[in-house]
């Protein structure tokens, strides 16, 4: 029963969606769409844009955002339904949900009541034939991030997922997330953009309403400094003219619809409004490495990685240090991987090899891995079909999609003995087994 699979990566900032054609078992590239997961009201265009419509927006100033996600979890189902109605309909993707499977991503440590609502929407509202829900990191072993020519894929990987709402450090053993060692920092792209808005509004122009413009500024001007103190000194001596300052020409509604960074030697017209990005260029992304600059009492990214690895079994720790992967929009700042390496190097044992894998496209990496998973044979065994859902209710999904809850059945519903799934890839098995690595075999690893 080969059906098309809709891969829906439901992010807090952007939705990445596409259809995997079952007959060719290759994802059609032209059907892949990326658009904001928001309902955006534009005063200039006097229109409301739902998700994918946003491409038609001409006037990107003073936009009002309504996001279904709050602090990283889907709370506003009204808004999400409005956006999904446009996406999952027949005309947009070209498939009929009754005969398609869907693969949805959820945040890490998603709450059980929210998970039930995801299931209800997919089966009861959109009536998909089969459905699978998991976190983005769980798909990464199927993708390209850790593939090195000539070597088998690593069994133990550590994923740094720096997203819109927060940043997670997620270790995976044999493709299964080790939940007791997952760490979260409450710093994400949204916080960085808002912080930049505040700084610029205090120091130069009032940009508190201009989320879209400031997001653009952040993505084009900001970088991660390798030596924060030296860069601060450089910006100190002369605030407007130094090696670091970049001038950003703000968009206006006649000449340039999009802002841009002024190239050296470019002439400035009188009508151009300039935003000077000095130490803001590197002090915004610095919050990822030092949340205490904002008063947030949480350790930075390097310390989070070290804490996460310290919670893992001792014999496997060196394999995690050697397989660190970066995904998520916030890792795209120039200099991110290099800075993380220089901060991690002193935290790892001195004879330990530390390797960081970057992706060519950090935003789409999890999506592409999910597509690879959807094409694989195992996908068909992992899904929950509509018949199973109608028979057993939401408990079918709760039991089949193993996640942080482990073996216990939490949430409403009677206590239920675990269904025996001997061929379920993602079940947590309590037995000793060997873990093969790239260089050696470690025997006797007890899994929870």
């Amino acid at each position: 029963m080969k059906q098309p699979v809709v891969v829906l990566e439901n992010g807090a900032s952007k939705i990445k969606v596409g259809v995997v054609n079952a007959s060719t078992s290759v994802a059609s590239q032209d059907l892949q769409r990326v658009f904001p997961n928001a309902i955006i009201k534009s005063k200039g265009d006097k229109r409301t844009f739902y998700g994918a419509d946003f491409e038609e927006c001409k006037d990107c100033s003073g936009l009002n955002y309504r996001l279904p996600f709050e602090k990283g979890y889907l709370t506003d189902w009204d808004a999400q339904k409005a956006i999904w109605d446009g996406v999952l309909r027949h005309e947009f993707l070209g498939i009929d949900p009754h005969e398609a499977s869907v693969l949805v991503t959820e945040p890490y440590f998603n709450l059980p009541n929210i998970q039930d609502t995801y299931d209800q929407f997919m089966f009861e509202e959109y009536e998909f034939a089969a459905y699978y829900r998991s976190t983005p990191a769980a798909f990464l072993p199927h993708g390209q991030l850790f593939k090195v020519r000539g070597l088998p894929s690593p069994e133990c990987i550590l994923v740094v997922d720096a997203g819109f709402s927060f940043t997670h450090v997620v270790p995976l053993i044999n493709g299964v997330i080790e939940w007791s060692a997952v760490k979260r920092i409450d710093v994400g792209g949204k916080l960085l953009t808002n912080h930049l808005k505040e700084l610029v509004s205090y120091r130069q122009w009032n940009m508190m309403d201009e989320t879209h413009v400031m997001n653009d500024v952040k993505e084009s001007c900001c970088y991660v400094s390798q030596d924060f103190a030296t860069d601060l000194e450089t910006c100190r001596r002369n605030t407007r003219v130094n090696a670091i300052v970049r001038e950003y020409i703000l968009p206006d509604f006649s000449l340039n619809k999009r802002g841009r960074v002024r190239k050296p030697g470019e002439m400035l017209l009188d009508s151009h409004q300039i935003l000077y990005m000095g130490n803001e260029r590197f002090s915004i992304p610095e919050v990822l490495f030092h949340p205490s600059y904002l008063g947030l009492q949480q350790a930075g990214l390097a310390a989070a990685v070290a804490q996460s690895i310290a919670l893992l079994p001792e014999e496997l720790q060196d394999m995690f240090w050697a397989n660190i992967g970066l995904v998520g929009g916030s890792v795209k700042f120039p200099g991110f991987a290099q800075r993380l390496m220089s901060e991690l190097r002193p935290l790892a044992p001195s004879d330990q090899e530390v390797v960081i894998y970057e992706s060519k496209d950090a935003v789409l990496e999890a999506y592409r891995s999910a597509v690879a998973f959807a094409c694989s044979v195992r996908f068909r065994d992992c899904v929950v079909t509509r018949e199973e859902y109608l028979e057993s209710g939401p408990a079918a999904c709760r039991v089949r999609f193993a996640d942080w809850k482990g073996a216990s059945d939490i949430g409403k519903g009677k206590g239920r003995a675990r269904v025996d799934e001997s061929d379920d890839e993602s079940s947590q098995v309590t037995q000793t087994r060997t873990v093969k690595t790239r260089t050696r075999v470690v025997a006797g690893v007890k899994r929870r």
Binding site: T75, K81, Q120, E125, P291
Partner: protein, 166 residues
């Protein structure tokens, strides 16, 4: 006569300094503001045509944005949603309520949850940046405990936002 003594010098304290709780509350409020999607509240003026409104009102008279959109998309062809979906869409709960309802706070300590997964406090002592220019904030304002780096930044701070960000 015994030699004249000077009166014991008083230790210089800042008696008007805000206490740690006020500062912590202010930091927390700042962080909550940083999580907001929009700076201004939802604008009351809607610029959608009102002719759609009558068909999409719920029993209590509220207009759901998903209903409004469906009316735009399909032009009226709408199947009935199930009870679960309908109640999820109608009753919007914020994250704090959902966390309470999910009961994860009552789970035994061996199970990792959203609440336990947060990273620990930083090991090294925290430094602050000047709130005016962004350099190292070596000094703190006497009235409102915000950091500044030098005298120029202090005067800017006093003129513009001392004690306004409470």
């Amino acid at each position: 006569m015994p030699p004249r003594r000077q009166p014991t010098r008083q230790v210089q304290t800042n008696k008007n300094a805000p206490d740690a709780e006020v500062i912590a509350m202010r930091a927390k409020r700042h962080l909550d503001e940083l999580e907001r999607s929009n700076y201004l509240e939802e604008s009351s003026g809607q610029f959608e045509a009102d002719k759609d409104e009558e068909s999409v009102k719920t029993t209590k008279g509220r207009v759901l944005i998903s209903d409004r959109r469906l009316a735009m998309l399909d032009g009226g062809r709408r199947k009935k949603s199930t009870h679960d979906v309908r109640s999820a869409v109608l009753y919007r709960k914020n994250l704090a309520t959902l966390i309470d309802e999910s009961g994860i706070a009552d789970l035994p300590a061996s199970i990792p949850t959203y609440l336990t997964a947060v990273v620990a406090s930083p090991q090294e002592p925290s430094r602050v940046l000047c709130s005016v220019c962004g350099y190292w904030g070596s000094y703190k304002c006497m009235k409102c405990a915000m950091a500044y780096c030098d005298i120029n930044c202090r005067s800017v701070h006093d003129e513009t936002r001392c004690e306004r960000r409470i």
